[in-house]
Amino acid sequence: MSKIDPIAVGIYWDRLISITDEIVNTLVRTSFSTNVRESYDLSCLLFDGRGRMLAQGSYSVPSFTGTAPATLQHMLKRFPPETLSPGDVVITNDPWLGTGHMFDINVMQPIFRNGRIVGYCMSISHLPDIGGRGFSAVAREVYEEGLRLPVLKLIEKGQVSELILELFRCNVRAPEETIGDLMANASATSVGGRMLLEFMDEYGIDDISEIADVIISQSETAIRDELRKIPDGCYENAILVEGVEGTVRLACAVHIADGRARIDFSGSCDAVPSAINVPVCYTHAMACYAIKCLTTPGIPNNLGSVTPVEVTAREGSILNPVHPSPTGGRHVIGHYVAPLVFGALAGVMPDRVQADSGMLNLINVQGRNREGREVSSIFFACGGFGALKGIDGAPTTPSPSNMTSIPIEVWERLTSMTVLAKRLLPDSGGPGEFRGGLGQEIVLRNDSPHPLTVSCLSGRTEFPPLGMLGGEPGKLREISINGEVVHPKGRYVLAQGDTMTIHEAGGGGFGDPKQRSREAVLADVRNGFVSSQAAREIYGVAPAA
């Protein structure tokens, strides 16, 4: 293949994405954990023979996209390409080499064609369990967080390492499900490899690096063209977020010059002795994600979308902690990186930025259900989506991560918890010319005869989702057990009959609420999204009696 014309590039590119979509499909359908199959807490990616990321499954968690290219490099440093053989599968869950916490297993398989590596396929998913203190923020050192796997060969020339499986069996809760998911990731990478080879055969392509050159450079050009529209300069922002013990400060300085963004997070506070520290791989991923959303949301993700963005953070800070800082709940803080960057650029990209979202609430539940079966599952619930210029925030929509909530009927059967209510919270969306999305109230009761341990991992209980450019904040999140307010990052035991009530935060509003159209306010009142009182007092609109 000599020169690739622009028409062929589009065809090849779409084909590579469809391959990753098919890998995701395989993973979802063969997985045992609800995190994967109901919540899509996963990602599947293809790399070329030089280890450059080319395509990613459409339904994925954004952070994994940002971390995977670095993870592959760590793996190849440990096992250089010339030492790899067909049938090898390499894994790690090291927080600093992988995705920032040990729950995510990174699984990689080299793809061989005629004895040569032509690409790599990677599959990442959140395991049902990894031992230690379970999925929570309570650990004070990484040692308490479970089984940490350096870069290892899970499968060597087709032979599964019984030693590694034994380690899993001895260290994790729900071992069969966890091993099932580990192997599901491995077979997903095989599917990806097979499909890449079929693609290369069909088009007579010996080396996808040439295609990679074009895809990556076109993506990079597109993102840099957008960045050039921002006046060169330094744009800063700082926010406060509740930690486990005290307040956490996050700060960023976004330097824009010549179509590149250098984002420095060094102004953030020091790492803390709770499992909410964010390894810099995750910080980097979330910062790249924010820039991508602002500049080129329509372009499929690949290495070209991350190269124009450079991320730095002071070593030992909460956004670049060092060993042995615990990191299990790193997303609890890490998710704030995206709104932090949006806030910094609000003045120069008012048409693109989004007001703060109520964000995701993760509640890890462990114990036994009515039938005595072991339970280790995450209840995901969303706050409201932040408003944007021209668009009200959607109710109960995740941001920036993209887990999917589990249906009530599936959750009840799985855990023997009864969901007593799941309803929107009126007036929870931040007022604005464009209103923030509504949060929700969820009431859960443990109706299993066994106690259930719940570990909460969420924020927005002290510092609300902020509005933007005149918009007002959304309502705070609140979690209570048997009527008593509890810490959003604590760990509690629900005895039979105990009730947990969660109020998910509303999204922030965008623009001055007084500018909101009368029709929009009246429609909100009619739908019960906004009370008559709020319509009068905040929006200055008196609904007809």
């Binding site: 014309d5 779409d14 098919e22 077979s187 076109q218 050009t221 597109a222 372009i299 007593l420």
Partner: protein, 693 residues
């Protein structure tokens, strides 16, 4: 003498076919759809086709009808004011929805408006546990008062009753439905436990709300049609096509109108399966491409694949996830935003993209000369010589090559820096690749190796692209059937009466006694057969298909297992092996020793086909006297570019004739493009059978 008529209403045309069962012949008819009152075009078409066949209405034994009424009513929100009656604490399930973004990076995505507005929802204090235990029985008084008020203030005409866990026990829903029917006999009532008793409340409830929302409209429409046909003297059976490829008695269609979504395309897929059966091709890819979209369907062992969920009314650039889920048995169709009117452009990446936006019929592609300025697929196909400027729609509509050239130059060739022909070829090829990709992804999601299948192509643009698409998919044979222009109307006449009942009942197979299997099957079979018997099918002519959704205990996704046609009692011990085979076929592995469970039971009853002949000969006059109409320059890159290509009249070809490509075979609604070396033969049924070489 028996005659049967199939009528398929599409957005632009209403297609009809009349079968003469004694002679084994068919005639076809097409007329414009009257959008304001579609029943008018059905009645007008029936009169016209009967007249041209010289048939009295009294001699017509059956009329089968496919309609887009339900789809359009949902998309355009033209249903009736509908109330949702639901479990206390959960009336917002429709707004809360799936709590998922269907696009990772686009923060401006839109979500569909819920089927029932928030102020038309009524909560009832009731509760059923996940295992089916009734915890709280609803109270009658509050319910009736609440509904009375909604009727007074919102003009409610239909009610969807949707309770949590009702799939496990419908008692509370039924109780409430009884009260509503007694107190408000004019209301239409849909129950989530009847419409589709599956777990996952958002999808089940949305489906039930849709059913309620369109029910009065469908009820009145079908009544009007039946009355109108009666007045014309029709006394035969009136059947309605369902989404799953069987016909329903109109009484059932009125109860479950949601089962009529996309019934026309389902008929086309079914017809493809039928064509395949006649030619002894059991594995088929059906490919139908029209003006705005293309549809595909995979047929295995003579039967189209089915699924139990589709998405309606997408609100954000046709994106998956931006529509409303409908849980019903449907023929598993691929929908691709590619058609003759697909607009060309460059995307954010700077590469060529086609569709999903379409120029529609008016103004249409630039070459239509009706003021359309945008470059479309049809413009490219005209420049490449595949379409003839003077032979489109049988020569009734002249195409403007200059306009097509101008549009493609300015919108595709210049921005991409390629010449006009490269640009047109690129547009043609991007569509081929889009369609091939859609088939590929669809097949792999279902774990199907399609490569030894044959492809059946139809629709206005299907035969233009079918051979190229087939080549990409390594499909060796393409069939362009007789009557391809009205395939769906043919399909309506080739569908058996059928009804499928689906139940969610979770049982581990090691806890399943052989008699349990037989008992559960028998219960569902009685229900499904009863529907057919009520529609006039003789009980002893009814056959049963049994399918189970099974999985390894702890997994969240099921694999469908077809049970062999034996006494269910004897199948208990064969279940693990049947499951392992199905699982391995999709995922290439099994997990020996892991417990297996049954989730869903799908029982379909179907009756005999009315057809007396395997195929019906289409009566159609050739255009002139010679088979070879003319020569035209057409583009074939493997032959070095434009070649002087023969153009044949399909209606003048005779059984046994053969043609070697490059060649173009023109018929009124379409042109079949044969690549260099491809061999076409006309079979005894007048199908064009193309071997790809």
């Amino acid at each position: 003498m028996t005659y049967r008529i199939g009528v398929d209403i599409g957005g632009t045309f209403t297609d009809l076919a009349l079968f003469d069962d004694a002679a084994g012949t068919a005639i076809t008819h097409k007329l414009l759809t009257s959008p304001d009152e579609p029943s008018r075009s059905v009645l007008a078409g029936v009169v016209a086709i009967a007249q041209s066949a010289g048939v009295q209405m009294g001699e017509v034994s059956a009329i089968a009808h496919g309609t887009t009424l339900v789809t359009n009513a949902v998309i355009e929100r033209r249903g009736v004011p509908t109330a949702l009656v639901t479990t206390e604490g959960f009336s917002d399930v429709l707004d809360i929805a799936l709590e998922r973004r269907y696009d990772l990076f686009d923060m401006r995505i839109a979500f569909p408006r819920p089927m029932v507005p928030r102020d038309q929802r009524l909560e009832v204090c009731e509760r059923v546990r996940d295992d089916g235990t009734v915890v709280t029985v609803p109270e009658r008084e509050a319910l009736e008062a609440g509904l009375a008020e909604l009727i007074a203030t919102r003009g409610i005409q239909a009610v969807a009753v949707c309770f949590l866990n009702s799939y496990a026990n419908p008692a509370n829903e039924r109780l409430v439905a009884g009260w509503i029917r007694e107190r408000f006999p004019d209301l239409y009532v849909s129950l989530s436990s009847t419409v589709f008793p599956y777990p996952r409340e958002y999808e089940r409830w949305t489906t039930t709300c849709m059913n309620a929302y369109v029910q009065p409209i469908v009820d009145r429409y079908l009544a009007r049609l039946e009355d109108g046909l009666g007045e014309l003297g029709f006394t035969g059976k009136f059947l309605v096509m369902s989404s799953s490829g069987g016909t329903l008695a109109s009484s059932i269609a009125r109860e479950f109108p949601i089962r009529l979504l996309e019934s026309g395309p389902a008929a086309g897929a079914l017809m493809s399966a039928h064509v395949g059966k006649v030619l002894d091709e059991r594995n088929i890819l059906a490919f139908d491409m029209g003006g705005t979209t293309a549809k595909g369907c995979i047929i295995r062992g003579g039967t189209p694949i089915k699924r139990y969920e589709m998405e309606v009314a997408r609100v954000h650039e046709f994106k998956g996830g931006s529509g409303l889920p409908a849980k019903i048995p449907v023929i598993d169709m691929i929908e691709i935003g590619s058609g003759g009117g697909s607009l060309a452009g460059t995307d954010e990446r700077g590469t060529l993209a086609m569709g999903p936006r379409s120029a529609g019929a008016d103004p249409g592609p630039a070459c239509y000369g009706r003021g359309g300025q945008r470059a479309t697929l049809s413009d490219a196909n005209l420049l490449l010589g595949y379409l003839g400027a003077g032979s489109f729609l049988g020569g009734k509509m002249a195409l403007d090559e200059d306009a097509a050239g101008r549009a493609i130059s300015s919108q595709v060739a210049d921005p991409l820096g390629v010449d006009l022909v490269e640009a047109a070829w690129g547009m043609h090829e991007v569509i081929n690749e889009d369609v091939a990709r859609a088939f590929r992804v669809h097949a792999s999601e279902r774990g199907i190796d399609y490569r030894r299948s044959s492809m059946v192509v139809f629709g206005g643009s299907g035969p233009l692209h079918g051979v190229r698409v087939a080549r990409k998919l390594k499909i060796p044979k393409v069939i362009c059937p007789a009557g391809a222009g009205v395939m769906s109307a043919f399909g309506l006449l080739s569908s058996p009466p059928a009804f499928e009942v689906v139940r969610s009942r979770q049982i581990a197979i090691d806890r399943l006694a052989p008699s349990d299997l037989a008992e559960i099957c028998a219960e569902l079979e009685a229900e499904a057969s009863g529907v057919l018997v009520a529609g006039g099918v003789a009980r002893d002519a009814i056959r049963i298909r049994r399918r189970l959704d099974m999985r390894y205990s702890g997994q969240g996704y099921e694999v469908e297992v077809s049970l062999p046609d034996e006494d269910p009692q004897s199948l208990r011990d064969a279940l693990p092996q049947l499951f392992d085979e199905a699982y391995a076929a999709i995922f290439g592995m099994t997990l020996p020793g892991r417990p297996i469970e049954i989730l869903n039971w799908k029982i379909e009853a179907y009756g005999p086909l009315a057809a007396t002949h395997e195929t019906y000969r289409v009566l159609q006059e050739p255009e002139g006297t010679s088979v070879l109409k003319r020569n035209r320059k057409a583009y074939f890159p493997e032959a070095g570019g434009f070649v002087d290509c023969p153009v044949y009249d399909r209606y003048a070809l005779a059984s046994g004739d053969s043609v070697v490509g490059p060649a173009l075979i023109e018929e009124r609604e379409s042109t079949c493009v044969l690549g260099p070396g491809d061999l076409l033969t006309v079979d005894p049924f007048m199908n064009l059978v193309i071997e790809i070489r």
